[in-house]
């Protein structure tokens, strides 16, 4: 594609203002880079980064991009773990960072936020109204509300305890790929029955439109109780989770675990004494203080089914914060001496143990790297197993990084197929199109392609993400 950069710059400047168009290569490289472990290729580096401030500018930008047939890649904070954030073709990056307005309407029972706000900023604003933001990614410091809703990621949240982010979305303002600005949903706290186009955009990964305003229900801040449980082995935690669902016990809002290896790394990282085996940590919520205390006591009793070495309610928040941060730090410290290649496996809950054992075998028998170490942690109560292959070096080629990523992805996704899951956090396109085809068949994939075409006839938005790029 021949693009006259000088003309493009001038045209884009007319749309968003010349101060908000960047065509220098350092800026392009910084925006194109994402968490994927291999370096950028020339095709990933955009012609320009534009930073609109409202839906009208985005509308004009998309109309222009359609007219010129130039792809536009939406950028929130670029924290996707499966390559959603890296442009797949030359084009324009649309950065939402200048769209950070938020307005809380307690009398209407909702808030409205622009897409570029980081979750931690939304949380801070909602805290003034004693409200909770039901979005829980580990990257909340920097992940945007637009990206989180566009992926509909549960992250730390156990779906069965509270639901997914999209369950709280009342409506959107969306700019369609062809430039029309539309409103969806309701201003009531009562959501639409029947066909509600709001749902088309929840989890659409930016393929169908640009979310420019997100309206979400206000959730009164619940009371929380914290539990930590120490086990001899990970299997005991898995047995407990399976039993929790089997017995119909109400799940905690967060139910995390660290396997034996991850627990040692995480606890050492935060200065805690090394645990004997695996560790589970739970956060329980209720709408009254007494309710939360009762629920925590009940859950503590239930936990005995898994024979923990010790299980206790943690009242001291400093102590809890230290324990809780071991979960995040395990991942960070693991990276110290090498690299990790991850996966998300969300099996049918009665198959959780089998899936976990299969995941161990996959890492043990990797073809692209011998003797990788299996490490696991994650949102076990959801249930999600993040199975990681750890290799003790960073000094490997881009090709090997890709090969390892692909092999882990493909093999663990086979487990999702075998055990009836599909993930729940990382989104289903970009690297995962082959999974979509394998699990649901070509007919469903073709349906998605036709849906994309109905919204975006020139394949302008996030081109490549539905083509199965890696």
């Amino acid at each position: 594609m021949d693009v006259n950069i000088a003309k493009l710059t001038k045209d884009l400047g007319k749309i968003v203002g010349k101060d908000h168009v960047r065509i220098d290569k350092p800026t392009s490289v910084v925006y194109a880079k994402d968490v994927m472990p291999w370096d950028l290729e020339e095709k990933n580096i955009p012609y320009a980064v534009v930073r609109p401030s409202n839906s009208q500018e985005i509308s004009k930008l998309l109309k222009y991009a359609n007219e010129k047939v130039i792809p536009v890649h939406i950028h929130g904070s670029g924290t996707s773990l499966v390559g959603l954030a890296r442009p797949k073709t030359k084009g324009i990056i649309l950065d939402t960072a200048r769209m950070k307005k938020i307005r809380v309407y307690p009398e209407r029972g909702y808030f409205e936020a622009e897409p570029g706000l980081h979750l931690v900023q939304v949380k801070k604003e909602l805290a003034k109204y004693n409200a909770m933001l039901p979005l829980f990614p580990g990257s909340e410091l920097v992940a945007t509300i637009g990206g989180t809703v566009a992926v509909n990621t549960s992250a730390h949240g156990v779906d069965a305890a509270l639901g997914k982010p999209g369950d709280f979305v009342l409506g959107f303002e969306v700019v369609l790929p062809t430039g029309e600005v539309i409103q969806t949903g309701t201003e009531s706290t009562r959501r639409a029955a029947g066909i509600d186009p709001t749902k088309f955009f929840i989890g659409s990964e930016g393929l169908l439109g640009v979310l420019t305003l997100i309206r979400m229900r206000l959730i009164p801040l619940p009371y929380f109780q914290q539990i930590v449980a120490y086990y001899n082995k990970t299997e005991d935690i898995i047995d407990t989770v399976m039993e929790m669902y089997k017995q119909g016990i109400h799940p905690p809002l967060f139910y995390e675990f660290l396997d034996e290896r991850a627990a040692k790394i995480g606890f050492e990282a935060v200065g805690l004494e090394e645990p004997i085996g695996a560790v589970a940590m739970m956060r329980i919520h209720s709408w009254s203080k007494a309710g939360s205390e009762e629920k925590a006591q009940d859950f503590l009793k239930f936990l005995q089914v898994g024979n923990p070495i010790e299980a206790k309610i943690v009242k001291d928040m400093d102590e809890w914060n230290q324990i809780w941060s071991s979960r995040a730090e395990a991942g960070n410290y693991m990276y110290r001496l090498g690299m990790t290649f991850g996966s998300e496996i969300s099996p049918r809950v009665d198959k959780l143990k089998e899936a976990f054992h299969d995941a161990q075998l996959i890492v043990k028998n990797l073809k692209s790297y011998n003797n990788a170490e299996f490490i696991s942690f994650g949102h076990i109560g959801a249930p999600t197993i993040h199975a990681y292959a750890f290799i003790p070096t960073k000094d490997i080629s881009n090709d090997l990084k890709k090969a390892l990523t692909l092999e882990m992805r493909e093999k663990t996704e086979d487990l999702n197929i075998k055990y009836g899951g599909c993930g729940g956090e990382w989104g289903l396109t970009a690297q995962r199109v082959s999974f979509l085809k394998k699990k649901y068949g070509e007919s469903l994939y073709e349906l998605l392609v036709r849906m994309k075409k109905a919204f975006d006839p020139n394949d302008i938005l996030n081109r490549g993400n539905l083509q199965g790029w890696i």
Partner: protein
């Protein structure tokens, strides 16, 4: 700085920056990122990437690049937020070393290094 020292510094920088996982946890605390209305190449993450791609030859020295690197205030807030802190990644120090290399015209082992 002689040739050996500058090569060693470049190699150290590449190795250390290789620890950056591009998670961008460091960006929001950076005062220059805030002042620039949240442009990522004015953040610690952006500067590390720019240094990496400059040393490996993907980027050339140009005004936007120099402006990004030299606008770092060396306040060190990013060091506290860095998710790779288990690896002792000293973000602000790496940016300082990168600036030093740049100021000596030594990034790509040319000019004064040959003197």
């Amino acid at each position: 700085m002689d040739i050996k020292e500058s090569q060693a510094l470049r190699s150290t920088l590449l190795q250390e920056i290789g620890k950056c996982r591009a998670c961008r946890f460091c960006i929001d605390v950076c005062p220059s990122y805030q002042a620039a209305e949240w442009v990522e190449n004015m953040s610690p993450y952006g500067r590390l990437q720019i240094l990496k791609y400059l040393i490996n030859g993907t980027l050339d020295e140009d005004d936007p690049l120099i402006y990004s690197l030299y606008s770092c205030l060396q306040c060190g807030r990013c060091d506290r937020l860095c998710k790779a802190k288990g690896q002792n990644l000293e973000v602000s120090k790496l940016i300082r070393l990168g600036k030093y290399l740049l100021s000596q015209g030594l990034v790509k082992g040319k000019k004064s290094e040959k003197v």
